[in-house]
Symmetry: C2
Subunit: 325 residues, 2 copies
């Protein structure tokens, strides 16, 4: 089905609705929250009464996004349509998808992940888009919703977040044109960049120091690890790698990078990154993980050192093989 037909069907689904429920994925990022609030604001402008929800609470670093204070974690109000935003599968919606009404109303699935399972009644999914916010913008254009500064800000947050400030390989002329359009509608790029790219938790910076001090690079493979004790010493509350894998793979000598994060439950979460031309998805797959060529991940049983040895051996062999080909 062509994308313009999907746009038509999406607007058909929205038209009869009065009080749609909008949901983004758990552990929300800038694109999830920006798409959620942007879509909510647009529907509000159209005279609907949308409820904005996320199974997880919204981190305070998103406080600068318009309407973010309206996002709830529990839904009591009735709803006659569900719009899922930036979610590749139902599980990523968290506990909210367990509500009884959920399955009995139409479901519109708006996303840009190539791995989207098309679980909606209409699936407005564009894997070419840099962000779900860009897909939302297409839909708003189709429905001729005017952009005000707040709505434009929400959507530009999504684009800036998912492209890490226009630095990812999927930043096309269309992405720049969309960003420009949102800026002309009143969104301040410096303001958004300041909040979403140029600010990180202080404890994350201490974690970077500790983890980078253990970094090693050998035969094109860069890696480091984040044991539980390191996270505690740094006072870092997050579960992830705080962006370290992205940073490590930027080393001139690195073709791929791996960061091993020890979890409370004893498992080891592995973040893998590759430079363009290399592929880490195949390594993640060997350990029942997944992802894209340039960014993938997997989870192994601990202890940390054993998991690290297993993945590094596979990764080294894979890189050596890819270098030869």
């Amino acid at each position: 089905m062509g994308f313009s037909k999907k746009l038509f069907l999406s607007s058909q689904l929205i038209q009869p609705a009065r009080c749609p429920l909008l949901i983004c994925h758990i552990a929300p990022d800038g694109d999830a929250i920006g798409s959620l609030t942007g879509m909510g604001r647009a529907l509000h402008q159209m005279g609907l009464e949308p409820t904005l929800a996320c199974s997880d609470s919204v981190p305070s670093r998103f406080d600068y996004i318009p309407d973010v204070e309206t996002v709830v974690q529990k839904v009591n109000a009735p709803f006659d349509l569900v719009i899922s935003l930036d979610c590749s599968d139902l599980d990523r919606l968290g506990h909210l998808s367990q509500m009884p009404t959920f399955g009995s109303v139409p479901l519109l699935n708006i996303d840009h992940h190539v791995t989207n399972l098309n679980f909606g009644d209409v699936n407005l999914v564009d894997p070419q888009a840099s962000s779900t916010a860009q897909v939302v913008l297409r839909l708003l254009e189709h429905m001729a919703v005017p952009l005000d500064a707040e709505l434009a800000t929400c959507l530009l947050v999504g684009i800036v977040s998912d492209t890490r400030g226009f630095s990812t390989s999927n930043v096309t002329v269309q992405v720049m044109e969309d960003a420009l359009r949102l800026m002309k509608a009143g969104a301040s790029l410096p303001h958004i960049t300041q909040h979403s790219l140029n600010r990180r938790s202080t404890t994350a910076i201490f974690l970077w120091g500790a983890a980078l001090a253990l970094a090693q690079i050998e035969d094109g493979v860069a890696w480091t690890n984040i044991p539980l004790a390191m996270r505690r010493t740094a006072g870092y509350a997050g579960n992830g790698d705080a962006g370290l894998a992205n940073f490590l793979v930027s080393a001139a000598a690195a073709d791929v990078a791996a960061v091993f994060v020890e979890r409370e439950d004893g498992h080891v979460e592995v973040g893998l990154r590759a430079m363009p031309g290399f592929d880490v998805a195949q390594v993640a797959l060997q350990f029942s993980g997944g992802g894209h060529a340039l960014a993938a991940g997997c989870k192994l049983p601990g202890p940390l050192e054993k998991a690290q040895t297993r993945v590094l051996n596979t990764l080294r062999a894979s890189v050596a093989c890819q270098r030869r080909s």
Copy 2:
């Protein structure tokens, strides 16, 4: 004098020239090299025979920029015009400005630094521009020079470098429109981003680990230091702070950041950064340094610890005072 008159006078200076000498500043960055090669390519298209020069050799990380291999460090050919690019004063041109012919031919000064001393016969200086490359683009538009993919690449390198990938506070609609125009002319933003933002020396990453492990944040002031021994252990060949001050000030608890770099000659180079709303230029000035509100620097006699104590005391007092006001 209005900017359009400056554009007119600049083109008047270029028109009679046959073999102009183009020079950018010592220790060239992406904007210096991008503006140099972009301007050179444009003049070549106009039928001139430009010589591209820089007193310092061009770092290999710029090898991907078109025509960079034509940049020389010594000039033997005659020239009938000098075009200075991205230089705020004559000293920054290095030894090349000592050539006898230099003072006897017209000098066109193209730049965007607010501190530019207007040392040219014509000064095409726009402090509002994000980069010198943007000023060059204005001049090429004025002279109706068509953009090919290589020329567009050179100029987009300048914009991306000086805005750190559209993340600085001076990224306006005009900057995005210029970037878009260059992309439509054939410049690949992902290619440029990959080379200029997503790649750093492996030893710089080891240096980050060592220096961040010493980082402290107190009362809004974040700081760390890079002793000579640390630089040697990391194998880091550069003299600067490898971008650490920019990173440190991104900590949520930081209003300002300082990085103290011990030099071979025993002096201590201090890099200062501020969050919008704070000003570190006044502190740099107190130690005979200079710069802007958000980014400044100064140099003090060692030893490291003494210099650090002096600057930190002043910085703490300044921040406390700025917080009250």
